[in-house]
């Protein structure tokens, strides 16, 4: 493993799924409709208020944040690139302890490719993960809560998935 530079590098997480929907709808649900599928119980709002809304401002440079039921807002990151209905790139600035950290920058790129006849291929890449290594203490807390996450999301998916 002879890397030319002496920098820590973590291979990005890459995922591809196909959904039975046109690209425009897939894009809309992923962005404006994020609240409808993101697990609402996993708010990062320090006020502990339940999530009332997840807002992704529809423009490059827009904010990405949750709004709590108490009216408070808590940043998650921002929109680095807004190209509906084909691509969105987000700055994921949530650290391992599920707190917003403006100094942290990992990137999530999501591409929506029409495959014809109402089928869209959705590709996701979460990269620059090595930045998370700098907030290691909190990352442990995230790992410790991982089983809670997985269980919840799996239950949700099996309940609604048509497959």
């Amino acid at each position: 493993m002879n890397a030319p530079t002496a920098h820590l590098y973590i291979e990005p997480v890459r995922k591809t799924i196909r959904v039975q929907a046109p690209a425009a709808r897939a894009f809309e649900v992923f962005t404006a409709g994020m609240f409808r599928w993101w697990p609402a119980t996993h708010s990062i709002n320090p006020t502990k208020a339940p999530i009332a809304e997840i807002v992704m401002e529809p423009r490059t440079g827009g904010r990405w944040y949750e709004r709590g039921a108490d009216g408070s807002e808590c940043d998650w990151g921002r929109v680095l690139l807004w190209e509906p209905p084909r691509r969105v790139v987000l700055a994921w600035q949530i650290d391992a302890a599920w707190k917003f950290d403006p100094a942290l920058l990992t990137e999530v790129e999501i591409r929506f490719e029409a495959q014809g006849a109402g089928v869209t291929e959705v590709s996701l890449e979460h990269r620059k993960l090595e930045a998370l290594g700098e907030t290691a203490e909190g990352m442990r807390a995230m790992v410790d809560s991982a089983s809670g996450w997985s269980e919840l999301l799996e239950r949700y998916a099996t309940e609604f998935s048509p497959r």
């Binding site: 493993m1 820590l8 959705v122 290594g133 290691a136 990352m139 949700y156 998916a157």
Partner: protein, 109 residues
């Protein structure tokens, strides 16, 4: 869990520096110590923690032990996010493919 251990190990800036030196290629304890403002025993101690976290490995090479990055450690480092996105995208797919009406729940509060 190795994942947490790996990140905790890299939280220490000196240990991170040791690890980054190794990402450029295998080195002995003495070679690492020569490049950093840290004593040999301290380097050895950092290497021990990195090894326990699964981030580096060594081959016993007589008296001169050569350390290198253990690629499996980094693989585990990202496995949590890998699982997270699997689950999140499954939930996303389920929502996209639901019946066309966009409202799933009423805002009650």
């Amino acid at each position: 869990m190795t994942y947490g251990n790996a990140l905790t190990a890299l939280a220490d800036p000196t240990r991170r520096a040791v690890f980054e030196r190794l990402s450029a290629g295998p080195l002995s304890v003495g070679e690492i110590a020569a490049e950093l403002p840290v004593s040999r025993p301290a380097v050895s101690q950092h290497l021990k923690v990195l090894k326990e976290a699964g981030l580096v490995r060594h081959e016993a090479d007589g008296v001169r032990r050569v350390y290198e990055v253990d690629p499996r450690g980094l693989a585990e480092l990202r496995s949590w996010l890998d699982r997270f996105w699997n689950d999140a995208l499954a939930a996303f797919k389920a929502e996209v493919e639901r019946a066309p009406q966009p409202r799933r729940r009423k805002k009650t509060r």
